[in-house]
C-alpha cells in the first residue's frame, strides 16, 4: 500500500516537472531578443503594420502575458507543439517520425555500456593491483577525456577507411524495403559504430563504478558466507557478486539518461543518423523555433519518464529503498 502511494506521489511530481518545463520553454521564447510577430512576418516575406497587427491577433500575441502562458501550457499538454516553420508539418509528427532511430541508438549504446562496463569492472576488481585492473583504469581515463565525436572519427578511420568492414554513415540503404530481413540486417550493420562510439564514455564510467562497488562487495559478509558454503569462485563472483555490483550501475545509468541523450545529438550528427539529434541541429541551423522548442520539451518528457521508470524499478527490486522518499 505504501509502495502505491509512493508511486502516486512520484507520478504527480513528474507532472509538475513537466509543467515547469513548458513554462520554462515559454519564458525562454519570450526572452529572445526580437519580436515574434516580426519573425513570423519575416517568414511570410515582409510586413506592413496592418499585417503585423493581424499576426499579433491571430497568434494571440496581443493578450496579457499570463493568458498567453496559460493557453501555451494547455496546448502543449494536449500534444500540440505548433507547426514547423521550415518543414511546414506539425512538430509532433516530425518528432514522432524521428524518435525511433534515436531510441534504438540510445538504448543499444546504454546496453553495451552497462554490460561491457560491469564486466570489465567486475573482472578488474578481483585483482585490484593486477595488470588488467590498471588497463581498465587507463581505459576509463581515456574514455573520460576523449571528445565523443573524436572517438567516433577514430573508429571510423579504423573500421571504414582501413579495415573497410563497416558502413560510414546513414542508417539503412534507402532502396531497401522496410520490414524485410535485409532491412533489419542493414540497420544493425549501420548501428554498430554509432552505438559503440556513444557507449565509449559510459563504458569508462561504469567500469570504474562497477570496479569500486565489486571491491566493496567482495569484502562483505554474504560473500564470505557464500565462500564458506563451499561455492566455487566463479559462482561466488558471477552469481552473488555481479548481481549486486550491477545495481549501482543501473541506477546511475537511469539518472544519466539526459546526458546520453545529449551525446546522441553529437553522434547522430557524425553518423548522419536520422534521429532527433540531427532534426534538432537542422531546426537550429534554420531558426525553426517551434521545432527546436518541441524537441527540447519532448526530450524532457523522455528523460522524466525514464527517470520515473528507473525509480519505480529500483523500489520494486530493492526493498531497502522501497519506502524511502528520495532514492
Amino acid at each position: 500500500m505504501q509502495l502505491l502511494s509512493v508511486f502516486a506521489q512520484r507520478i504527480g511530481y513528474a507532472i509538475v516537472l513537466l509543467i515547469a518545463v513548458i513554462i520554462f520553454n515559454f519564458i525562454l521564447l519570450n526572452l529572445v531578443p526580437g519580436d515574434i510577430a516580426e519573425t513570423i512576418a519575416g517568414e511570410a516575406g515582409g510586413a506592413s503594420p496592418e499585417l503585423m497587427e493581424q499576426i499579433r491577433q491571430s497568434y494571440g500575441l496581443d493578450r496579457p502575458f499570463h493568458v498567453q502562458l496559460f493557453s501555451y501550457v494547455a496546448r502543449v499538454m494536449q500534444g500540440d507543439l505548433g507547426t514547423s516553420y521550415y518543414f511546414n508539418v506539425p512538430v509532433i509528427e516530425l518528432i514522432l517520425s524521428r524518435v525511433g532511430p534515436t531510441l534504438l541508438l540510445v538504448t543499444t549504446a546504454l546496453l553495451i555500456a552497462i554490460i561491457t562496463g560491469t564486466l570489465l569492472g567486475v573482472v578488474a576488481a578481483q585483482n585490484p593491483n593486477g595488470l588488467f585492473s590498471h588497463l581498465v583504469t587507463i581505459l576509463a581515463l581515456v574514455g573520460f577525456s576523449a571528445p565523443v565525436f573524436w572517438t567516433a572519427f577514430m573508429l571510423m578511420v579504423l573500421f571504414v577507411s582501413i579495415l573497410d568492414i563497416l558502413p560510414l554513415t546513414g542508417m539503412v540503404n534507402p532502396t531497401t524495403p522496410e520490414g524485410t530481413l535485409q532491412w533489419y540486417l542493414e540497420v544493425a550493420h549501420h548501428l554498430i559504430l554509432p552505438a559503440f562510439s556513444l557507449a565509449s564514455i559510459y563504458i569508462a564510467q561504469y567500469s570504474r563504478l562497477a570496479r569500486a562497488s565489486m571491491m566493496d562487495i567482495l569484502g562483505s559478509d554474504y560473500i564470505r558466507t557464500a565462500r564458506a558454503k563451499g561455492l566455487s569462485q566463479r559462482k561466488v563472483i558471477y552469481k552473488h557478486g555481479l548481481r549486486n555490483a550491477v545495481i549501482p550501475v543501473i541506477t546511475i545509468a537511469g539518472l544519466q539518461f539526459s546526458y546520453i541523450f545529449s551525446g546522441a545529438v553529437v553522434i547522430e550528427t557524425v553518423f548522419n543518423w536520422p534521429g532527433l539529434g540531427t532534426l534538432a541541429l537542422d531546426a537550429i541551423l534554420r531558426a525553426d523555433t517551434p521545432t527546436i522548442m518541441g524537441i527540447l520539451f519532448f526530450s524532457a518528457v523522455v528523460v522524466i519518464v525514464f527517470n520515473l521508470l528507473t525509480d519505480l524499478a529500483c523500489r520494486i527490486v530493492d526493498p531497502r529503498i522501497r519506502s524511502a522518499r528520495n532514492a
Binding site: S145, F153, S258, A300, N307
Partner: protein, 299 residues
C-alpha cells in the same frame, strides 16, 4: 584550507600539539607521489604557455589560406598539413587552444559559482530553502544539457559570451549536489556550533567557517569541471554553434568532418589536442584527490 582541517582534527582528538609537517608541504609530497599527475601538470603548463605566447610569433592568421588544400602533414613545410580550404592546421590548432582553454575556463568558473551558491545555501539552511533549490536542480537535470545549451546559443547570438553562459547554466547541477552534501555534513560539526555559539552571522559561517573546510572535494571537482567544459565547448563548436569568427578545436573538426577519409589529419589532430588537454586536467584532478585524501590512496 588544509591548515584549518589539520589543526581542527588535532584539537578534536584532544591530543597535545605535536610537531607536524606544514600542510602545504604534506599536500605537495602526496601530489608528487602520483607520477602521472606530475607529468600531467607540466604538460598542461606547456599547453597553456603555448596557447598564450606562441600565436604572437606566428605571422599567419588562422583563417588565412596559405597553401593548396589537403596538404598532408610534413609536406611543403606544413608540420600538420593544411585543411580542406588550404589553411594551416598547426596555426589553427594553436589559435584554437586559446579559445578552448579560455571558454572552458570561464564556463567552468560560472558552473562552479552557480553550483556553489545553490549547493551551499541548500545545504546550510535546509528546510524550505533546500526543498526549493533542490527542485530547481532537478528541473535542470531533466533537460538534456547539450540540447539546452544548443537552444540557448541558437535563440540568443552565437558569440563566445553566449557559449560560456550556455555551458555554465546547464552544467552546475553536479557541483550543487556535491556542495550541498558537504555543507550538510560540516554544519553539524562542533566547530561550526562553536562559531554559532559566539554569535557569528550566517554569512560568516557559510563563507569563512564551512567553505574552507568543504574546499578539498570542491577543488577536485573544479578540475574535472574545467575538463568537462572544454569537452562541452568542443561539442558545441563542432556542431557549428559557436562564434564563426573565432577558431576553436571543435570548430576545426566540424569544418573538416566531410573530409575525414581524404584528409584524416584535419580531424585527428584537433581532436588529439582536446583529448590530451582534457586528459592532463583529469590526471591533475586525480592527483589533487590523492593529495587531499591520503587514506583513500591505499584502496
Amino acid at each position: 584550507m588544509a591548515s584549518q582541517s589539520a589543526s581542527v582534527s588535532e584539537v578534536r582528538d584532544g591530543k597535545t600539539k605535536v610537531e607536524v609537517e606544514r600542510p602545504i608541504v604534506e599536500f605537495l609530497r602526496m601530489y608528487v607521489r602520483n607520477m602521472a599527475a606530475v607529468v600531467a601538470f607540466f604538460v598542461f603548463m606547456i599547453i597553456i604557455l603555448a596557447a598564450v605566447f606562441l600565436p604572437m610569433f606566428v605571422a599567419v592568421d588562422p583563417f588565412e589560406i596559405v597553401w593548396l588544400p589537403i596538404t598532408p602533414p610534413g609536406q611543403e613545410g606544413f608540420l600538420l598539413g593544411t585543411d580542406n580550404l588550404g589553411r594551416s592546421m598547426a596555426v589553427q590548432i594553436l589559435y584554437g587552444a586559446r579559445t578552448s582553454l579560455a571558454v572552458g575556463g570561464a564556463a567552468a568558473a560560472i558552473t562552479l559559482v552557480i553550483g556553489l551558491l545553490i549547493g551551499s545555501l541548500a545545504g546550510y539552511y535546509r528546510g524550505w530553502v533546500d526543498e526549493v533549490l533542490m527542485r530547481v536542480t532537478e528541473f535542470f537535470q531533466v533537460l538534456p544539457p547539450l540540447l539546452l545549451s544548443m537552444v540557448l546559443v541558437a535563440l540568443f547570438s552565437p558569440t563566445l559570451e553566449t557559449v560560456v553562459f550556455a555551458i555554465g547554466v546547464v552544467s552546475w547541477t553536479g557541483v550543487a549536489r556535491l556542495a550541498r552534501a558537504e555543507f550538510m555534513r560540516i554544519r553539524e560539526l562542533e566547530y561550526v556550533k562553536a562559531a554559532r555559539s559566539i554569535g557569528s552571522k550566517d554569512g560568516r559561517i557559510i563563507w569563512r567557517v564551512i567553505l574552507p573546510n568543504a574546499l578539498p572535494p570542491l577543488i577536485v571537482t573544479a578540475a574535472l569541471t574545467v575538463g568537462a567544459a572544454i569537452l562541452f565547448e568542443a561539442a558545441l563548436s563542432f556542431l557549428g554553434l559557436s562564434d564563426p569568427n573565432v577558431m576553436s578545436w571543435g570548430k576545426i573538426m566540424g569544418d573538416n568532418r566531410d573530409y575525414l577519409l581524404e584528409a584524416p589529419w584535419t580531424v585527428i589532430f584537433p581532436g588529439l589536442a582536446i583529448f590530451v588537454t582534457v586528459l592532463t586536467i583529469n590526471l591533475i584532478g586525480d592527483g589533487l584527490n590523492d593529495a587531499f585524501n591520503p587514506k583513500l590512496r591505499e584502496r
